[in-house]
């Protein structure tokens, strides 16, 4: 690991003043669950780290009945929070399955949302890949069994954050603080495809911080997430889905269906949402939505199987949201 200087930011203002405009030269560090690995592997070699664990680490109710989560909140605090599980099960279920107990106790919400991709070409120094300024996405003709089945490249990572998927499904708002003030960005707009942003995965600029995630009041929804992992724990999901179903009686009025580990961003499926609107929750509805969700997929040479996995995740998330048996 390259030597670096360390700033212990005492406030948001302090932290912002310590950041800079050049990508990867000065980086914010929360729990360090992702960043330290990147540094040990020399994927990033920042000159300065700014500790942002000192930023807001509270979960608070908003006036309109939602929740505002400071980005320094630990993942375990979401899991153990008294109200969150009831209000946002799709989010809390995901938080509870991230990494290991150690990671959940040290990792933060901000860190989870802003972590870099786990693509093995990106993470191994030998491969000077597109995302690192090279000319090739090695996954295209290489080992792509864990890569994206949606999107047109040119980089084929899958977004690594599971919280991101639930945030998009619930329609969360991200508060971004920067040198020129504060802006709110819809979670769905926060994450960016590689054709828009090859060297990063979201709209956050090097001199900005993600400070809060605000979840709207849940209202009359049924929601759930379903993850498919090969290993039972401490493994990245092969594919997963969060669904938020706005109900009118027994009928789904409208739905948000977002898949994870299938695209460079949390992948919202309007096709699946349309398949659900106006229907009641049943195995047939769920399966139809699952099929619709993956119909537009464009798998690579070695990851077509992920279509089946993602379809299953969508269908089972719907069944789970409806309180039905998933398998």
């Amino acid at each position: 690991m390259k030597a670096f200087s360390y700033v212990d930011a005492r406030s948001e203002k302090d932290a912002l003043a310590s950041l800079g405009t050049e990508r990867n030269r000065i980086l914010a560090i929360g729990g360090g669950m992702d960043l330290l690995g990147l540094m040990k592997d020399y994927i990033v070699t920042p000159e300065r780290l700014v500790n942002v664990k000192t930023l807001d680490a509270t979960i608070a109710r908003t006036p309109d009945g939602g929740m505002r989560i400071g980005s320094a909140v630990k993942l375990i605090d979401i899991v153990e929070h008294a109200g969150m599980g009831q209000m946002y099960p799709a989010l809390v279920e995901l938080a509870d399955q991230i990494g290991t107990p150690q990671i959940r106790h040290a990792g933060t919400v901000g860190g989870n949302l802003n972590q870099r991709p786990r693509c093995w070409y990106f993470r191994n120094e030998e491969f000077h890949c597109l995302k690192k300024g090279g000319a090739t996405c090695f996954s295209v003709n290489g080992e792509n069994q864990f890569h994206a089945i949606f999107g047109d490249g040119p980089c084929h990572i899958v977004h690594p954050s599971s919280l991101a998927v639930a945030c998009v499904a619930y329609g969360a708002t991200f508060r971004i603080a920067g040198p020129s003030g504060v802006r709110d960005v819809d979670a769905g707009q926060y994450f960016q495809m590689p054709d828009h942003n090859l060297y990063g995965e979201n709209v956050l600029q090097p001199n900005e911080l993600l400070t809060h995630v605000t979840l709207p009041a849940p209202g009359q929804v049924k929601s759930a997430s379903y993850e498919v992992r090969f290993k039972q724990a401490h493994d990245w999901p092969l594919a997963f889905a969060s669904v938020v179903l706005a109900m009118q009686g027994d009928t789904i009025h409208s739905a948000r269906v977002v898949m994870g580990a299938v695209a460079p961003v949390p992948w919202r499926s309007h096709e699946a949402e349309q398949a659900l609107a106006g229907r009641t929750i049943s195995e047939e509805t769920a399966d139809r939505a699952g099929q619709a969700a993956v119909r537009p997929a464009k798998p690579m040479s070695g990851n077509a199987y992920k279509m089946r996995v993602a379809r299953t995740a969508v269908a089972r998330a719907i069944l789970k949201a409806g309180g039905l048996k998933t398998a």
Binding site: W120, N124, N141, G142, Q232, N303, Y305, A313
Partner: protein, 729 residues
């Protein structure tokens, strides 16, 4: 122990023990065969046990190796200047000469030593190596193709001699059903939790090395030969180690580099590898591929086997494995080729060759059983070799079947509706084991203390505990009264811990030595008691006349009679206390989610023998560990090389998957005690059969056969998809 190819041969020893009565194992033991807890457990779990990684020496530096990022490249130049002048650097060396062609990613090129680990890491990156990158062979198919670059002297493919028995044509003529299929197993790395490496310290021309090794004596010899110094000048110490599985028999390049750095820097050097280096450069299990045609008669008897096999052990290392495994094909032919590619070389790995041969044969057996319309277990019983002391599958399969509930097996394909399918599978294993060659030294001190020394090493299996058990048993003392000293090449010679030979080598040596020491004590005590030495027995902390137990002394009183001169005797392994050849069977149950391809192993039942059981608890632990090892081979582990560059994409424990606690099934280990055979050994056998049993269970669950390991969701779903599209059978 390991030959120059890194392979540990199976021991060839008698299957039944017949030894000198004086040293025979006790008929009614106090400790042997009981559940004895590992003596060093508390030290390990509390962090007090010092592994090579934990050794700290005054003025110690940290070493770091510069490795080739290219699987094949010519070294044009190595420039150490910038590294030499980096902060904290005390030594830098080039490990290879310019013009050398490196043959695998991770091959050692240069090294540095610096005051801190971080400084060494930074300095290593300042070593400027200019490479002329050459086209690598990245997989067996490419290496075998006629237009592949000729990379290895003598060819990329080395064809072995064909083995042929019986009349193949007649065998196929007698077949009512045929199976023709291709099977494969992947390259698996050892993933020792403690990585390879050592701490080296010179005192003048004498080297002390704290090494994570399976062979303190073999590693002493390795250092001496490579460094051209007398073996007497080398001391190798391994008090604790975190796994070897066959990959840690020698100093290796990193050990020699560490010694050279320590010499150059005139300071002790700590050089232990990181996880990536461990995957790339410290060995692996070769892959195996088999194209097979086999026949079975209408009444379910095997008639013929014709197999073409190949595999890669990486750069210049062979990939042999036994095939067919265990079952008897009267007419058979096998042709095998070793294929070389530009990847880290294979080393011995827990039952070298056997898991591959077992998987391929046992999957084939289930396919043949299906063709013949027989239950797989019934089919196996018909085709097993005849019973022998080291061939008891006919006895163990029914025991396992009863415990497992095999009779509830459904035919291939779980008819239960819904996506979750359950299935069961079985398989068998064999291994040699057996012992030889160990020496020991015992002292009985005038204050009653007992020291037993043996230059073996405890690679995590409980050898330290076994030495204490046998000594305490023999001297009639509590286990805690024995001071056991192992893991040092200054102690009497004992071989490497490989081939499941440690228990069968060490425990007889300890038994003989302890009996001799006791004999010497008895000679001292006999005149005082007025009893012939031969009539004395040592039990429960006393030495007394066999026929008049009140005529005796406490152990301490007896030892006090020694005056100032301790009993000090040497002993060594003798035939008759150990044997060779083990038998085991396993049955596995799995649940497969046919909508995600995810397999969960829910239960494994195992019946395994290992001769005379020394410590039932550590023996069971070996079996449980072996089954987990086999399950990882079945489902998770896979060294994945980029097909274009040959570089490993998963040199970590993130994408190189290993089971976690929640992935581990219920494991029921039934150990068959065979006191009449003496000690045999158990490290290898339980790891052999698990993958095959799981593979057969998956086919039984989903009704489609997978013939390649690991059985990932991608492979399960692809097989189901192919079945829907027109069938694989």
């Amino acid at each position: 122990m390991a030959d120059e190819r890194g392979q540990v041969p199976e021991a060839a020893a008698p299957a039944v023990a017949q030894g000198e009565a004086h040293f025979a194992w006790p008929a009614h033991p106090t400790y042997i065969g009981k559940d004895i807890r590992r003596l060093d457990g508390p030290e390990k779990v509390s962090g007090r046990a010092k592994y090579a990684y934990d050794i700290q020496r005054p003025g110690m530096l940290y070493g770091r190796i510069v490795r080739s990022p290219h699987p094949r490249a010519r070294i044009v130049s190595i420039d150490l200047a910038a590294a030499r002048s980096a902060p904290g650097v005390k030594a830098a060396l080039a490990w290879v000469e310019p013009n050398t062609v490196v043959m695998f990613q991770g091959e050692e090129v240069a090294a540095v030593a610096a005051a801190t680990e971080a400084q060494a890491g930074d300095a290593a990156r300042l070593v400027k190596v200019e490479y002329e990158v050459l086209q690598p062979l990245t997989n067996t198919a490419q290496a075998m193709s006629p237009d592949a670059p000729k990379v290895f002297d003598g060819g990329n493919v080395r064809e072995g001699a064909a083995e042929e028995t019986g009349d193949l044509a007649a065998g196929f003529k007698a077949a009512a059903h045929l199976v023709e299929a291709v099977y494969s197993t992947q390259v698996q790395t050892h993933v020792c939790l403690e990585t390879h490496g050592c701490v080296c310290e010179w005192e003048g021309d004498k080297l002390t090395a704290w090494v994570s090794t399976q062979a303190v004596h073999g590693t002493r010899e390795g250092f001496a030969q490579a460094l051209k110094i007398p073996q007497a000048n080398v001391r190798v110490i391994t008090q604790y180690m975190g796994g070897g599985f066959g990959s840690k028999f020698a100093p290796d390049a990193q050990g020699l580099i560490c010694a050279k750095l320590a010499q150059a820097a005139r300071a002790p050097v700590h050089l232990l590898l990181d996880r990536k280096e461990e995957h790339l450069a410290t060995g692996n299990r070769p892959s195996a591929h088999a194209k097979i045609r086999a026949g079975v008669s209408a009444d379910g008897m095997l008639t013929a086997f014709d197999g073409q096999t190949w595999g890669t052990g990486g750069a210049g290392v062979g990939a042999g494995f036994p095939l067919p495994y265990i079952y008897q094909f009267p007419n058979r032919r096998r042709r095998h080729s070793d294929v070389y590619i530009n990847a880290g070389g294979a080393r011995a790995m827990r039952a070298p060759g056997h898991p591959q041969g077992c998987f391929i044969t046992e999957i084939l057996m289930d396919e043949l059983a299906d063709k013949a319309g027989l239950d797989p277990l019934e089919f196996r019983m018909k085709n097993l070799p005849p019973d022998a002391p080291d061939a008891r599958w006919r006895e163990y399969f029914p025991i396992a079947a009863k415990q497992f509930g095999w009779s509830r097996r459904h035919p291939t394909g779980d008819p239960t509706p819904g996506p979750i399918k359950t299935g069961v599978g079985c398989s068998a294993n064999r291994w040699g084991g057996g012992g030889r060659g160990s020496h020991a030294h015992c002292e009985i001190l005038p204050d009653g203390g007992v020291i037993m020394r043996c230059g073996t090493q405890d690679i995590g299996t409980g050898t330290r505990t076994l030495v204490s058990i046998v000594t305490a048993e023999t001297l009639g003392l509590p286990i805690a009264a024995i001071r056991t000293e192992i893991g040092d090449s200054l102690y009497p010679f004992s071989g490497g811990s490989g081939g499941s030979t440690t228990a069968a080598s060490v425990t007889p040596a300890i038994r003989v030595t302890a009996v001799k020491a006791l004999d010497a004590l008895k000679e001292h005590v006999a005149p005082t008691l007025g009893v012939a030495a031969a009539d004395l027995v040592a039990e429960e902390g006393r030495l007394f006349a066999r026929n008049a137990p009140s005529k005796g002394l406490t152990w301490k009183e007896a030892c006090r009679l020694l005056g100032t001169e301790p009993v000090s005797v040497d002993g060594q392994w003798q035939p008759g206390l150990s044997a060779s050849g083990t038998t085991g069977v396993q049955m596995a149950e799995v649940q497969v989610d046919t909508e995600t391809g995810v397999t969960k192993v829910t239960r494994v039942v195992c019946v395994q023998d290992c001769g005379l059981i020394m410590d039932r608890l550590t023996a069971e632990s070996q079996v449980i560990g072996g089954i987990i090892f086999g399950m990882d081979f079945a489902l998770f582990e896979d060294r994945i090389l980029d097909r274009n560059t040959g570089q490993m994409v998963n040199p970590n424990m993130e994408w190189y998957l290993l089971a976690g606690m929640s992935d581990i099934p219920r494991i029921e280990a039934t150990l068959v005690d065979q006191p009449e055979r003496g000690v045999i050994g158990l490290g290898e056998p339980p790891a052999v059969a698990t993958a095959a049993a799981i593979g057969n269970a998956i086919a039984n669950a989903i009704g489609v056969r997978l013939r390649s390991l690991p059985m990932t969701p991608a492979r399960v779903l692809a097989a189901l998809e192919q079945e829907r599209a027109g069938g694989t059978r």
